[in-house]
């Protein structure tokens, strides 16, 4: 079998696979010495943790009051079935007991999927369980926030909203460079308002100044050979303001869904409102010297609907014009206005998107449309206010979300008729994993050690190639990755019979099934397979059903039996959901 795999995959892959098998096999043996390996990772800057706990309690109250009152009977039964203790509140920095209505491993899995897009490894589970009970949650969050996979994952998700998934104009746009830069900013926990100001107003070459790729990705969309003010205005309004005003490009708002205005009052959106926003970007010029503002450029003009001649537009903002500064280039003025502490839309837009990344669906649906006077969940504004008050600290925001009651509430799989916008956050939405989460989790479950930046370079190279192949075939969800989706036949076939799962089952010495076969008894082997795939130990009824069948094969085809069980776990509905 192994020979066939090598023959089919070519000599280079054969060499890599051989080395990988050795690495994986030795990884099993080296788990105890590597137990505290992650402590060598660079730690992120200390987040602002002042009054974290009081904010957390208010957040939990807001979340619980937004849902149905109280807990269901099933929920209460579930507590009794777990090793958790029902304590409300956030205990991420203190020595208070571990909280949660779900077991700590379930919580750790959810937070891991939300933050770094994969499930915990067996190595990480052992590390977590070796921590003192009172500090496990805090340790896990520190561990994840220090993990480069977290900033990479968040950067890719945020990047999709900021620059999309398209490859953009050849030479003038470097998407990977942009995402890597964004990941650096998130890893160092740079205040997010600073990051966004740099995106909006930067000048320079797209390779040396990666932030300008926000501008260059729109080059020549309008057929002018220059960045597109219209596209940039649409991106800005949706990504940073959660305002869907781009339909105003072509016509006035005739549905009464767009609110524009000032503190004195709001009115319906007009076509001119969008083009005033676009006018901020009309001075951006691209050349071989990079993006520069040409302050002598022709004023922005657009021919409005039912008019025959183009109208000239001066830059103008859709809300709070009093916050707009008079000094600076148009893009600098927009950047300062956008991130002004009094511009609540920016904080709301960011919180709603980060919440979607962490929980799989946003607080407000659609993710990029929060009308200024809309009746939004209290949790949104509470988090938004805290985000502004604490200097746009994304790590603090992630801590609040990870520690919230919503993250530790009992999970429920949304059915086809569930309206995500009406989700009651006294339950955790056990949504389908996104493609990259499925791929990462499949890869992580193929080994006992953590596939982070400290993993062996060959393992990471092979993993990256496997992930790309898998996601390409599985189908990337693109920019609208938080929309509810049902699984397709192609996607299920890929996990049932595809290369990635098959290779994991047959990867020689490194296969979890093969290593589990080294366990002293069927109970231990079963536990290992459940932990590497579902991040939990088998329930009693699962032991009752599965241990005897393993026992029957224990002296014979033990490894094949474990392989089959491993396959079933990888294909299970539980593995495919955030649970």
């Amino acid at each position: 079998m192994f020979r066939n795999q090598l023959t089919n995959s070519g000599p280079l892959f054969a060499l890599l696979a051989s080395l990988l098998a050795v690495v994986a096999a030795t990884g099993w043996l080296l788990i105890p010495p590597l137990r505290f390996r992650s402590e060598r990772r660079p730690q992120p800057p200390q987040a602002n943790l002042s009054d974290l706990e009081s904010v957390s309690k208010r957040l939990d109250e807001a979340l619980l009051s937004s849902g149905t009152a109280g807990k269901s009977e099933a929920s209460q039964e579930f507590q009794g079935d777990s090793d958790s203790r029902a304590v409300s509140g956030l205990h991420l920095q203190s020595s208070l007991p571990v909280a949660g209505r779900i077991p700590i491993l379930d919580w750790a899995r959810r937070v891991s999927l939300g933050l770094n897009g994969t499930i915990p490894s067996l190595e990480e589970i052992r590390q977590l369980e070796s921590q003192p009970l009172a500090t496990r949650e805090a340790w896990w969050l520190e561990h994840l926030l220090a993990d480069r996979r977290t900033s990479d994952h968040l950067a890719e998700r945020l990047g999709r909203a900021i620059v999309g998934v398209e490859n953009g104009p050849f030479i003038l746009y470097r998407r990977r460079r942009f995402i890597a830069w964004l990941s650096d900013q998130l890893s160092s926990n740079r205040p997010y308002d600073e990051v966004v100001r740099e995106l909006i107003a930067s000048e320079g070459i797209w390779t040396e100044k990666p932030a300008v790729n926000f501008v260059t990705v729109t080059t020549d969309i309008d057929g002018t050979g220059q960045p597109s003010p219209i596209r940039l205005a649409a991106r800005t309004s949706r990504s940073f303001l959660a305002m869907r005003i781009d339909c105003l490009e072509c016509h006035d708002d005739f549905l009464g869904t767009i609110q524009i205005g000032s503190a004195e009052g709001l009115r319906g959106g007009q076509q001119a409102d969008f083009h005033r926003l676009a006018a901020f970007f009309s001075t951006a010029r691209n050349s071989l010297a990079g993006v520069r503002d040409d302050l002598e450029a022709e004023p922005y003009r657009f021919t409005l609907l039912d008019e025959e001649t183009a109208t000239e537009f001066q830059p103008g903002v859709p809300l709070h014009p009093n916050l707009l500064l008079a000094a600076g280039s148009p893009r600098q003025r927009l950047a300062m206005w956008l991130t002004h502490p009094s511009n609540q839309q920016f904080a709301r837009a960011t919180v709603n998107r980060v919440w979607a990344i962490v929980f799989g669906q946003p607080l407000v649906v659609p993710i990029d449309d929060i009308p200024p006077t809309a009746d939004v969940p209290r949790a949104l504004d509470l988090l938004a206010d805290d985000f502004v008050k604490h200097g746009y600290d994304l790590h603090r925001l992630l801590r609040l979300m990870a520690g919230s009651e919503a993250m530790r509430a009992r999970g429920r799989v949304p059915d086809a008729n569930t309206d995500p916008g009406a989700w009651s956050w006294d339950e955790y939405p056990a949504v389908r994993l996104r493609p990259e989460q499925v791929a990462h989790s499949l890869l992580q479950s193929s080994t006992f050690t953590t596939l982070d930046t400290t993993a062996h370079v060959l393992r990471r190279l092979i993993g990256s190639a496997q992930e790309n192949e898998f996601v390409n075939r599985y189908g990337d969800f693109g920019e609208n990755e938080f929309d509810p989706r049902s699984e397709t036949v192609t996607q299920r076939l890929l996990v049932l019979n595809g290369n990635l799962v098959r290779e994991q089952l047959e990867q020689g010495f490194g296969s979890p099934a093969r290593l589990a076969a080294l366990a002293p008894n069927p109970e231990t082997a079963l536990e290992i397979l459940f932990l590497v795939t579902l991040t939990r130990r088998p329930h009693e009824d699962e032991r009752t059903r599965l241990v005897p069948s393993l026992q029957a094969a224990w002296t014979g085809e033990r490894e094949l039996r474990l392989q089959d069980l491993y396959w079933a776990l990888l294909n299970s509905a539980e593995f495919a959901s955030a649970r």
Partner: protein, 440 residues
């Protein structure tokens, strides 16, 4: 729910069915009972349901070397042409077999678009809409599968939308849903991806039994079933996948039983085999098939590289049309052949032609399209300095018009509006059918 109901549709049920079917598969005709049923239904109604084959020439073919030559002009830059079997219609040299099938083919020669970037133009051609950061539109194949549902199709085991030799731009369902994404396969000479269980029957049964147990346990713990109607399968994609794995209709993909000389008529290439598989899939009841031939982006050494691609395209296109006609499938199967834009009238310094969305060609045949027609004209002496390139065209049409024509061939309601998930109304098409192309 009775035991029988539990059994029917369960994972293990599909597995047993698979093995029974597979045991006798090699001796069966690919024309399945369902296909026969569809055929009979078509006979009863007097008309076979329509299908679409999109021959996608990714990279952008040069119109001047393919469907719109201007021999002996400056813009030809030395490339030549040949007369087709329809008087007055010339094709680029190399399209010899296609030229002989010209009575079945019509050409739209003055298509225009504003997209000169591959990625954006591919999206435009495939969806009929320009790339929009706020809305993902469905590809034409997805749209047709969504809107065109003839009688008897609901029991079909295979995906109704298939992409053969796909690139990253295979047709997607867009706002209509991922379920309408094209099912992707490679060179049909290779085994189908992901459709065969990787272990024998006994182990597969054991795996599926474990999977049933785990899923049932998970559902009970989640309690989500109480929100679903009792007849609803909790994992329809799993059921469909297992049903597909066991379907005798999979034989339509299998070219091993096709005589070698029949295969070679399409050309000894993955694209040729893709066209043969497309014909067989359409014959079996698949609604939309896309076959991709990449490699047309000839910024360097245009003439030689285009000639190489034309040598692959010509036998495949001509034989596909001939076979569809011979099997009386051409009237019900619309064949569309083209790329995302054309190439510049002038050669660059490297002997290449660059991107040119201001007048390019697409070929159409069958499916209600009149043959032997040419719509639109590009100037043999274009003014390349003008800001309005439309002045170099006669009777130009937009990409949106091409889409409207395809949808009209399926007799879909062109006034239809969808409501996208964001709540935004979206027209099925923003174009108008190209006059004179569709048969009355």
């Amino acid at each position: 729910m009775s035991d029988l109901q539990k059994e029917c549709g369960s994972a293990s049920h599909w597995h047993r069915r698979a093995w029974l079917r597979m045991a006798g598969l090699s001796g069966l005709s690919w024309l399945t009972p369902l296909a026969s049923q569809l055929s009979r239904a078509a006979e009863r109604s007097g008309q076979r349901p329509k299908s679409l084959i999109m021959l996608w020439l990714e990279g952008a073919p040069s119109q001047l070397e393919t469907f719109d030559p201007h021999p002996n002009t400056e813009i030809a830059a030395g490339s030549t042409a040949r007369q087709s079997n329809v008087p007055g219609i010339w094709l680029g040299t190399g399209l010899e077999q296609t030229a002989e099938a010209m009575e079945q083919i019509s050409l739209v020669r003055a298509l225009t678009s504003k997209e000169g970037d591959h990625e954006r133009a591919i999206y435009h051609l495939k969806t009929g809409y320009r790339l929009d950061a706020t809305l993902k539109h469905p590809a034409i194949g997805s749209l047709i599968c969504h809107q065109y549902r003839p009688e008897g199709e609901s029991d079909f085991d295979l995906p109704r939308h298939i992409s053969i030799l796909p690139t990253a731009a295979a047709g997607r369902g867009g706002y209509l849903g991922d379920g309408l994404d094209a099912f992707k396969i490679g060179d049909p000479v290779n085994p189908l991806p992901d459709l065969r269980a990787t272990v024998g029957m006994a182990r597969q049964d054991r795996r599926l039994s474990d999977l049933d147990f785990l899923d049932q346990n998970f559902r009970q713990r989640q309690g989500s079933l109480s929100h679903s109607p009792p007849t609803e399968r909790p994992r329809p994609s799993l059921d469909q996948a297992l049903r597909m794995m066991s379907s005798e209709q999979l034989a339509a993909f299998d070219l091993t039983g096709v005589p070698r000389n029949e295969r070679l008529r399409y050309g000894d290439s993955p694209f040729g085999r893709g066209c043969l598989a497309a014909r067989r899939l359409i014959e079996a009841g698949v609604r939309c098939v896309e076959v991709t031939l990449p490699g047309w982006d000839t910024h360097v050494n245009n003439h030689e590289l285009q000639a190489g691609q034309i040598a692959i395209l010509d036998p495949a296109l001509a034989t596909l049309i001939a076979d569809l006609r011979q099997r009386e499938l051409l009237d019900s199967t619309l064949v569309v052949c083209g790329g995302e834009f054309g190439r510049t009238p002038q050669l660059n310094n490297l002997g290449g032609r660059d991107h040119w969305p201001h007048g390019f060609s697409v070929a159409l045949a069958g499916g209600g399209i009149q043959g032997g027609k040419v719509i639109g004209e590009t100037s043999p002496t274009p003014d390349l300095t003008t800001k309005n390139q439309l002045t170099n065209l006669r009777d130009p049409h937009t990409v949106e018009d091409l889409h409207a024509t395809i949808l009209a061939a399926f007799k879909l309601d062109l006034e239809l509006e969808f409501i996208a998930p964001s709540g935004r109304p979206v027209k099925i098409t923003e174009g108008r059918p190209i006059a004179g192309l569709l048969a009355e």
